[in-house]
Subunit: 441 residues, 2 copies
């Protein structure tokens, strides 16, 4: 059972949560002066329209026609399924629905913002986009966006994922992009980490530093970020806007769930529903799921910190484990991040969103059950949302409540099968870190 929509139902506007937040967002700070960041400096890093969107207080921003056409090409609107077999296997009175972003041609939600960012860069006359990628989903998406819009793409990929997922590189090459394992010899910050450890597994924070260093020495290049920032999360709201339309065919959700690395797929599904709650029109419960190896929401502190490991980015006020925190090499590479989207941090502070953290063996076990009952192999990142949904369905069973659960299956795991192989062979390690730089540990 599922709901599909025709191309004509692709949303015409993104939803921007900034004007609706329960408190104004603290401004980003210049890493050199600790004063509020001047937009001019941001313009050297990001395409102009994206800097505008980052600060915008307009509640809705129009999606350009070309971007909507490309959304149709890459598989939007994505389907929304009911997981009837999973419900039966759990014996729960809950009804479980999921929005399936793995149905896009790059296999995850990341293409939603990649196309928008590449579009605005192209409009501005930029020739090259440089970025980082953790598990490879963002790099894949940006590579395709580059191919579809006629821009060069260069990707720094966290070395642990580069090794675990070699074919991600093949895909990016097929789309015409350059891909380098990070830390690399190409940047100062990369060389610094390699001196520390020639086999450094890397991480999102380091790869971001390398990408920004590379952008700053290349006049006609701009940086593209796959999560965290306001404009990125806003581009993802097509997910939730479509899901709202699709859930009308079924019923009103009670609980809305997503996994969180930087926060973009969670925000994409949740924020249009959060709006209803902030306006007092609805009473949804929001659950954000993270790995215990990178427990930013459940154990991080709320304060100003860098977005990258090297200290190049503006400082943002957010939940953080400390930008020098080394995230253990869990298979959910896209969740190996020390920080969090500032808007999501505010919503957690205000009790609108409830975070929860799981170990990866529990997460893969949930994904295995989902695979056998619903047929789709979740990305290890998205599997955290599956685990969250199963947790809620089991709670609903204990409470004998007919709850309606909606979660975001943000990507498929067909390029992440090494993790599943390790899980099936009993080789997965659960990491329980105790010391975090941001906590003075």
């Amino acid at each position: 059972m599922k709901a599909v929509l025709p191309d004509s139902k692709i949303p015409k506007r993104w939803y921007n949560i900034l004007p609706d937040l329960p408190e104004p967002l603290a401004p980003p700070l210049d890493p050199e002066t600790d004063e509020p960041m001047e937009p001019e400096k941001l313009l050297r890093i990001f395409a102009e329209e994206l800097v505008k969107q980052e600060m915008s207080t307009e509640r809705y921003i129009e999606i350009p026609r070309k971007v909507r056409e490309l959304y149709a090409k890459i598989g939007r609107p994505t389907p929304l399924f009911r997981a009837t077999n999973l419900e039966k296997a759990l014996g729960t009175p809950a009804r479980i629905y999921f929005k399936y972003e793995g149905a896009t041609v790059t296999g995850s939600h990341k293409i939603n913002t990649a196309l928008a960012q590449a579009y605005y860069a192209k409009e501005q006359g930029i020739e090259k986009l440089i970025t980082e990628t953790g598990a490879g989903q963002w790099g894949t998406a940006l590579s395709l966006a580059g191919a579809l819009l006629g821009l060069k793409a260069r990707v720094y990929m966290a070395r642990a994922s580069y090794a675990q997922k070699p074919y991600r590189k093949t895909i990016m090459r097929l789309y015409g992009a350059e891909v380098y394992p990070s830390p690399s010899e190409r940047t100062e910050i990369g060389r610094r980490f390699l001196r520390e450890d020639p086999n450094h597994p890397g991480g999102l924070g380091i790869a971001i530093s390398e990408a920004i260093e590379d952008v700053l020495r290349d006049g006609n290049a701009r940086y593209a970020l796959g999560s965290v920032l306001n404009h990125v999360l806003m581009h993802q709201t097509v997910i939730g806007l479509e899901a709202m339309e699709q859930m009308r065919e079924f019923e009103e959700p009670d609980v809305i769930i997503g996994c969180v690395g930087g926060g973009s797929n969670f925000a994409g599904l949740a924020y249009p529903f959060v709006k209803e709650v902030l306006e007092g029109k609805a009473d949804y419960k929001f659950i954000a799921v993270e790995p215990r190896a990178a427990p930013t929401m459940t154990r991080g502190v709320y304060r100003y910190d860098f977005g990258d490991s090297g200290g190049y980015t503006p400082k943002m006020k957010m939940h953080t484990l400390g930008h020098t925190y080394y995230v253990p090499p869990i298979h959910a590479g896209g969740l190996r991040y020390h920080g969090l989207a500032p808007t999501l941090s505010v919503l957690i502070n205000h009790g609108v969103v409830t975070p929860v953290a799981y170990h990866q063996n529990d997460v893969f076990r949930a994904a295995e059950l989902f695979t056998r009952t619903e047929g789709i192999i979740p990305a290890p990142e998205s599997a955290h949302a599956v685990k969250g949904a199963i947790g809620q369905a089991i709670r609903a069973k204990a409470e004998e409540r007919e709850e309606v659960i909606l979660f975001n299956l943000s990507g498929h795991g067909l390029l992440d099968l090494k993790g599943y192989e390790d899980y099936l062979d009993g080789k997965l390690e659960d990491y329980e870190p105790e010391h975090f730089p941001a906590l003075g540990g």
Copy 2:
């Protein structure tokens, strides 16, 4: 630009081409007596309802409600896209559409018959399905069908593909199936091929022999075949029936194209359109694309031959290269087959379907262009259809004709990236076999 359909538009009946063929199909022969096969013997191999369907002269056969529900769960109806960017890149006046079977959760059309076969086996009280797989797409599909319908699945996978695509095994394991590389030590025929060559790369024909030998010694198991047979091709006609409905949103096709190993994805898209031609109601052109390394349609002879390499199956009258033909290890593992669906053989003999053959480097080059323009990485098998469509679009350009091309993108290539890596690195070999057992070579 694409057409999607709601669950309610999943076809209610499969189309059976048998009563409409331009000549009656020659009966399958008993491999031991060379007399027409007695149904009793087939019942030991196949589920009863499938044997009935194999012989049926009913033009339409109802799809059971449970199978239609599962079709919805695995992603049917699949979308039909227009490849506008590919058209532009080719500068062709042709308009190119493709039905995208890679959108199913197992990533290819194979699930369409896997669910049907598992359903009828389950209804009959069968406990286990045993099968072969080439590239792994059929094995994956049957494994999921087993999981969804509560049957055990055992898969013999051609050793060359088992090595090239190790994660196919992971997927089948996740779905709960047993997987063995073929030739294996588990069967007499497997051991015979291993004695000849301990590193034998295997092939569909050998894997079929092993599966059937295994079925014949296990009372409550049945065999499931992924192509060639009438009932298998018939289950695939949901593809073409949906595509007909979807093309109504756009325009009437002129040329219909598919790749051919045994013939099932080609038939799935084409046969509902072939019906119109056989009835004189339309004038579509049909192009069937095969690899030059396994040129069954373009160089094979039409005669009785075994479906497998070991000589266990009934003999079928079909185009064949000889059942002992060793197909070179091209990356399109699903097209590494010596024979052809008997119904498709008849249509080729009568000039209804035109075959064409390409080398794998040409095929991968076409797939690369398709990937960069349309974003989807085709399975190496399906890439043959892409190459066929591009060939037609280029011809249309030369002839300055606004033709409408429809092809079947039968699966995605996310589990076949080794082939793309080899292609990008210039390591792909083109095989030009000259000697075929069926031609006395």
